[in-house]
């Protein structure tokens, strides 16, 4: 089973720490992740909003290249890219005429043999994860799936679209206490980060507010866009809502990296807008049925600059 890797454009720029932490985790687990050679942008939201043929051609070129490399499956850590590649594969496999048309456009015969994996699937498929835990991530977390990891459910067939549990189970495996909260799959504002920052501030604010009100100590994400909106746009959110939120937003790969014992700097935690640190237990009483977490056991390792 050859697993390829499609980083996606944001991994090179605004989501650099996602890429860093993923590659560090892969290395620690002894997993190879060969990049698809000469990969192009998948088109994200812009392509399918403006032109449907372009929106299919761009991902098709990527997947055709993966197939040419003999890759059986491709890991796509960015949820938006994952969505575009999955939808493209589905539509072209369903409609033979369309597949021929797009194959003509990309000047390659796209067969649809390579499966598309998201980060949670890839991480959940690692069999020896529990045995490698150096120290558990003993925090109350709100797992934020966003829109495109679980919808449209009929195509992705990944997790249930209402109250999904795959990321929660993964976090539980590494010692966290995933909370039940109401905004697991509500949109953060997605591609409006630049063009309508006011709307992102509103939507992402609702998400943070719910997580914080239920006692979450961190929000775990698996999408660069969600991270950007919840983390980098924190000042906008705070301005819009008039409230301060100190809750950090951590990529799932960073959380896994931390429990595997990889140092915070290698995971890019210092690149976040909102500092990844946790207040001492006195200020942050745990929920009634959670075990008490002493600072020596879990807190210190996660404070950047204190390593």
């Amino acid at each position: 089973m050859k697993t390829g890797f499609y980083p996606g454009c944001s991994m090179k720029g605004s989501a650099r720490e996602y890429s860093e932490s993923l590659l560090a985790v892969a290395a620690a687990l002894g997993r190879e992740l060969p990049e698809i050679p000469d990969w192009n942008c998948c088109g994200a939201t812009a392509a399918h909003n403006l032109d449907q043929d372009l929106a299919l051609a761009l991902p098709a070129r990527i997947l055709a290249a993966a197939e040419k490399e003999g890759m059986d499956e491709v890991l796509v850590p960015c949820a938006a890219c994952y969505s575009r590649l999955s939808v493209t594969r589905h539509e072209l496999l369903e409609d033979e005429k369309l597949r021929q048309k797009i194959s003509g456009l990309i000047e390659a015969d796209y067969r649809g043999t390579a499966r598309v994996l998201n980060i949670i699937e890839w991480l959940s498929g690692v069999p020896d994860l529990e045995s490698r835990i150096k120290s558990p991530f003993a925090r109350r977390v709100a797992c934020y799936y966003g829109c495109l990891l679980v919808r449209p459910a009929g195509i992705l067939k990944f997790d249930r679209p209402e109250d999904p549990q795959s990321m929660d189970l993964l976090m539980k495996k590494i010692g966290a206490e995933p909370l039940d909260w109401a905004f697991k799959t509500e949109c953060c504002g997605a591609g409006f980060s630049v063009s309508r920052t006011d709307l992102v501030a509103k939507l992402s604010g609702l998400i943070l507010d719910d997580a914080v009100s239920r006692g979450a100590e961190a929000v775990i994400v698996a999408c660069p866009m969600c991270h950007l909106n919840l983390d980098m746009r924190r000042p906008n959110i705070e301005k819009h809502s008039g409230k301060k939120y100190g809750i950090p937003v951590i990529y799932i790969t960073q959380a896994i990296g931390l429990v595997l014992g990889i140092e915070a700097k290698k995971l890019g935690l210092q690149r976040h807008k909102v500092a990844v640190k946790f207040p001492p237990p006195a200020d942050n009483p745990p929920s009634a049925d959670a075990p008490a977490t002493a600072p020596e056991k879990s807190g210190q390792k996660y404070l950047p600059g204190e390593e």
Partner: protein, 194 residues
Amino acid sequence: MRSDNHAHPASQTLADRVLEKTGVDVARCYQCGKCSAGCPLAAEMDFPPSQIMHLLQLREFPEFAEMALRSHTIWLCLTCEICYARCPMEIDIPKLMDTLRSESLAQKKTNPKAKDIIAFHRAFLDSVRYTGRLFEMGQIVDYKLRSRHFLQDLLQAPWMFFVGKLHLLPERVRGRSLLARIFAKTLKGKEKRS
């Protein structure tokens, strides 16, 4: 699917074109409003999604189809897919929105309030066309030129640069000529023709 629709393309309604292109049949919508109820931005829209459906349903009133194409709604739509996930009739509303967007562009009926959103998308695709990938710096500059929001996020840029998230030079894909051909046959080609 309606098989008795032998309308001549020129007299085809917007609903007919949507059906032909996407297989989405607006007649199936019984206006329950569940899509609008769950839409994150319905409160900001001029026509929440169920109303867009109804504007297309009344086929004998082309002015309603016009209102749909000129709406702010179709550009505010985040394609978060919540409407489709909850619709009791399993109508692919995001796909409908995509089609309305490209129709709106093709007929040059885009809502002025959506100027920035469209500018962002165009800037994004410019970067993809020229480099093969999203060169964020280039895209931001392109967007600012299009939208004239020169001062926007000005304070973010230095911070992004210092934490290593902003590159000053693009990465170029080798297959750029193929990408240029793809663009010519799709987005750019349609723009020339319209």
